[in-house]
């Protein structure tokens, strides 16, 4: 029972990562009709926003400590971050400690700007081009973004730890009456889950309670006609793209503390998020979210000892297996709309 609950919890968490990425992707892919292979890169850039902010906050001046030596035997240079000297060591340290949450604020304008630039500079010209061309150009872009990040930050993962106060875990099991240690859950993962719910809710609300979503969908189906109705669809597409980029970026910022970002984390998620979006059904936001959570939970279950001993290797293939089964039994994924990207 507790093991069961535990895996559901884990699945929810994994699912929120999938759902968040898939959400952004489905806005671009399912709504704007652009097969965006650079979406993973946007996620990655989000995570590196946190890294960058941390680097900025820890920009330091050096003083020489003659009592200690560095690895070559020279006097050791001690670094003190400017923020610590400006705000005093304690406040300064606290600011650095909270750099990931601060990065959320930092990332929003950055991601919106990147999204804007990407859409206006590149994607705009590809709405009418075949999907294959979109794949080639966005894949090229993804590689470029990735390599640029690699050039500046290296290939190794870089830790972006959560604030001290939010590290560690809580014993959820004990709270609801299980024995100790039965259901341990990291605080940041809980935060991530609630963050995901909030973002998903926000995006839903925006698209549900405004006509924006409808107009964009209409624009994707028939740009020309929407234009003939006096609507500046280009601007809305740009906004939509910006939102998607921001969602991806924020998902990346928040993901950093879970697993340290590296330059290829986007590619690692890319295929999976496409699977999630398609299993959810093209053009369906709820579908993407549902599929994200579903696949996350199934993946968690498949990685239990019980599952891997009964079916060796099931944890390696579960996502794909489920995707195949769903796509074969439900022609348009879980909640796909008719006619969206079916040809």
């Amino acid at each position: 029972m507790d093991a069961f609950l535990l895996q559901i919890l884990n699945g929810l968490d994994k699912g929120s990562a999938y759902a968040l990425i898939a959400l952004g992707l489905t806005l671009i892919f399912g709504t704007l009709g652009v097969v965006n292979f650079a979406h993973g890169a946007l996620f990655m850039i989000g995570a590196f926003c946190a890294v960058t902010l941390e680097r900025l906050l820890t920009l330091s001046f050096e003083t020489i400590d003659p009592t200690k030596t560095d690895f070559l035997g020279n006097p050791l240079k001690v670094k003190t971050p400017y923020v610590e000297s400006w705000f005093g060591p304690e406040t300064g340290a606290a600011i650095i400690d909270w750099s990931v949450p601060l990065a959320l604020i930092f990332a929003i304008p950055v991601m919106l700007a990147i999204g804007y630039a990407m859409e206006r500079g590149l994607i705009k010209h590809f709405y009418k081009r075949p999907h294959a061309d979109q794949i080639l150009v966005t894949f090229g872009l993804a590689i470029v973004l990735q390599e640029v990040v690699k050039y500046f930050f290296g290939a190794n993962p870089i830790q972006t730890p959560p604030p001290e106060a939010l590290r560690g875990s809580v014993d959820l099991g004990q709270m609801i009456g299980f024995q100790a240690n039965a259901i341990i859950y990291p605080i940041w993962r809980l935060i991530y889950f609630f963050f995901a719910v909030a973002v998903i809710g926000g995006v839903f609300a925006f698209l549900q309670f405004t006509t924006f979503g409808m107009v964009v969908r209409a624009g994707m189906a028939d740009r020309e006609t929407v234009g003939l109705l006096g609507i500046n669809i280009d601007r809305r597409f740009t906004i939509m793209f910006g939102i998607a980029a921001a969602v991806a970026g924020l998902a990346g910022v928040m993901y950093g503390p879970l697993n340290p970002p590296n330059y290829h984390m986007g590619m690692d998620f890319l295929v999976l998020s496409f699977v999630v979006v398609v299993v959810g059904g093209m053009g369906s936001l709820p579908g993407a979210v549902l599929a994200g959570f579903l696949l996350g939970i199934l993946e968690s279950f498949a990685s239990t000892t019980w599952a891997t001993t009964t079916l060796p290797g099931i944890n390696q293939i579960i996502i794909y297996l489920v995707a195949i089964i769903i796509l074969l039994t439900r022609p348009r994924g879980l909640m796909g709309r008719k006619g969206v990207m079916e040809d």
Binding site: M214, A218, T225, V226, L229, G230, I231, N232, I233, G283
Partner: protein, 251 residues
């Protein structure tokens, strides 16, 4: 009788009575193929102009050029609507300036219900007829409001396309074969509507294969052939001129 295009006459008209909508020396291409080959004409406020010609004469292309759809690509020429230069606008700007096009293949937006298709037309100002009023004009649409637009029958889709244009407060209505696929009773109904809105000052360009019908309704007529104007005059002139009708309209 004036069969050959006479630009000087048009130009004079433009000088003396600046028309409501005027098209001046418009040329347009689909890729490499030259389709609209230098067209000039004027439409006065409140007028119904019939634009006639055989299949492939370039009627649709002309309307699409005026509506600034981008395909065909207009390479030269000026289009003025109520002293505003349409030729330097994009399609949505032209639309907000008061142009409304009912495209020939109806272009109902897939994925949207009937009502959403209409709502879509009322997002950008200026807003015209209320949706309720449109349902009064086309009761069938009211009955089908929750149905996905593209599953409507052919005729119903045509009604929706016209309703969508009326949902916006437009100054010039470009109708590309509006009667196509409509039952005769409905055609009568729409004709009445056109007359009604004409009385309220609407300017209309009507492309129609049923030339007789169009000419009975129109004040003036233009006949196109291979992308050029071969006749520009009153509707009555065409109806009276058997040669002209036989040569270009086969009636």
């Amino acid at each position: 009788m004036n069969v050959k295009p006479d630009f000087s006459k048009n130009a004079n008209q433009a000088l003396t009575a600046p028309a409501f909508l005027s098209v001046w020396d418009m040329h347009a291409y689909y890729g490499e193929s030259y389709i609209v080959q230098g067209i000039s004409f004027n439409v006065h406020e409140g007028e119904i102009l019939a634009l006639l010609g055989r299949n492939g004469a370039g009627k649709t292309s002309t309307l699409r050029s005026i509506a600034r759809t981008g395909s065909p690509q207009v390479t030269r020429g000026e289009i003025w609507l109520d002293h505003k230069p349409l030729h330097s606008m994009t399609s949505y700007e032209a639309a907000t300036s008061g142009l409304g096009l009912v495209p020939e293949d109806r272009r109902i937006i897939p994925g949207l219900t009937v009502e959403e298709n209409l709502q879509l037309a009322q997002i950008a100002p200026p807003i015209g007829w209320s949706i309720g009023r449109l349902y009064e004009l086309f009761p069938r649409l009211g009955e089908r409001r929750k149905q996905e637009g593209v599953t409507l029958s052919g005729g119903e889709q045509q009604m929706l396309a016209i309703a969508r244009a009326l949902a916006r407060d437009i100054k010039v209505l470009l109708l590309d074969e509006p009667y196509e696929g409509l039952a005769p009773v409905i055609v009568d109904e729409i004709e009445k509507t056109l007359i009604h809105i004409k009385e309220q000052g609407m300017t209309t360009i009507l492309v129609e294969q049923n030339a007789v019908r169009a000419l009975q309704l129109a004040d003036r007529a233009i006949i196109l052939d291979t992308g050029t104007i071969v006749f520009d005059g009153t509707a009555a002139e065409v109806l009276e001129n058997a040669d002209l009708r036989a040569e270009y309209l086969a009636i």
